[in-house]
Amino acid sequence: MNFLKRHFKKILFFLTIFILIIMIGLSSIGRMEGADLGFFGNFIAGLQKLTYKTGGTFTNSFYSVQEIVKMREENIMLTENVYKLRDQVRMLENIVNKSDALKTEYEMRKSLSYDYVVGQVIAVDNSNWFSRFTVDRGENDGIRQNDIVIQAVKTDDNIVQIGLLGIVAETSSDWSKIITVTDERCKVSFKNNANDESGIVQGSIDGTITGYFFNSKAGAKAGDSLVTSGIGEVYIPDIYIGDVKDVVKTTDASTLRIIVEPAVDLTKIGRVYILTK
């Protein structure tokens, strides 16, 4: 008894460490779910939403004033690009319409619509080791674990995807945790649009996305665009992941390792689209 009294602090210290290590072990293998802080969590999430929005508004105002001069030049450049893209679309539509099979697939993809929920980023992880963020939508909005998160723009007919952002890791009643494509724990099966070859890309601790092909003889070159392949049935097919930035040979020189530039700038995310299944 005297021993316990004398060493109470030390026992408490080591017991806490022991319990936390067990928790880390269990939650890392998925045997234990993250803590749901209930009302307190929702309260914190509300505060985060308020401060994130305030920060965003101030930063945007600051940059708006700073970039007013650039906007005119950018407007001219964008108008030129729109004309170029319209011309390209006309040309491609002409080619597609000459083949029945291509026409059917084009119509099918055009009419493809997603069920989605629009979320606002309320908190971001700014440690160097992970790439996560939290959105203000949760189970009450129909969001489930493993739902896909993309950046998109809303048009009159549907949403037009800009690129893959990540996946829902955990949900609470009113907010959800998202793992981005640059995070170590995010693995996505991809398809190279240039040659239809598939593989896996994965984020890393230093924030780069690297990947490899299933077929060791498959090739890739810088600029090839990668989309989700749908293999594994976690990610919906044809979501734009990004472009190949570099291709490097592995140490055994038999396979290629690709470095991918994500389609979305993860430092500038505000509104996100969560595709509900």
């Binding site: 210290f13 160097n128 945790k177």
Partner: protein
């Protein structure tokens, strides 16, 4: 009443930890220097642990870590362990240090930043993360260490000012 720390002070510090967490995860992302964000939560924890003892430092560290684990990450206990260790160790050895010397706070904040990243590296290594590319983070960690070591002095002064305003004995 907790030994060496009255309840008002404890609630005051806990509230600041929560506010620090909210600011760190939402507002601080917009205020980065050389693409590096100082760690306000760690700075606050270092100050509070320095001003109290091991038990209070550990408890406040646990609170900070649980907030991060529950609100941001999916591995529960990771940051709770790191912040608990940081708070408990600094709180325990703070008795031996000159609490009036601001340089000590800078040193503690700088060292805590390095130790925090070192612990993260070790834990992630055992969790089989691909930590080989972690050397790429060294420049950011170095800048963060310097930022935390400098910022701690200003946060400490602000805390003393707040303590005076709210009539809490710092």
């Amino acid at each position: 009443m907790i030994k060496g720390l009255n309840m008002k002070k404890y609630i005051f510090m806990s509230s600041l930890i929560i506010i620090g967490f909210v600011l760190q995860t939402s507002l601080m992302g917009f205020i980065n220097l050389f693409n590096v964000i100082p760690n306000i939560s760690l700075i606050l924890l270092v100050i509070f642990a320095m001003l109290t003892d091991g038990v209070s430092g550990g408890t406040l560290g646990l609170l900070t870590g649980i907030l991060y684990d529950a609100m941001i990450y999916d591995i529960f206990g990771l940051y709770a362990l790191i912040y608990f260790l940081t708070g408990a160790v600094i709180g325990t050895i703070s008795d031996e240090m000159l609490r009036e010397n601001q340089l000590v706070y800078s040193l503690a904040a700088g060292l805590s930043t390095i130790v925090m990243h070192l612990l993260l590296y070790l834990i992630l290594f055992f969790l089989r993360f691909r930590v080989q590319s972690a050397h790429g983070l060294l420049p950011s960690i170095l800048v963060e260490t310097i930022l935390n070591a400098v910022l701690v002095v200003f946060v400490l002064r602000f805390f003393i000012y707040l303590s005076y305003r709210f009539n809490v004995k710092a």
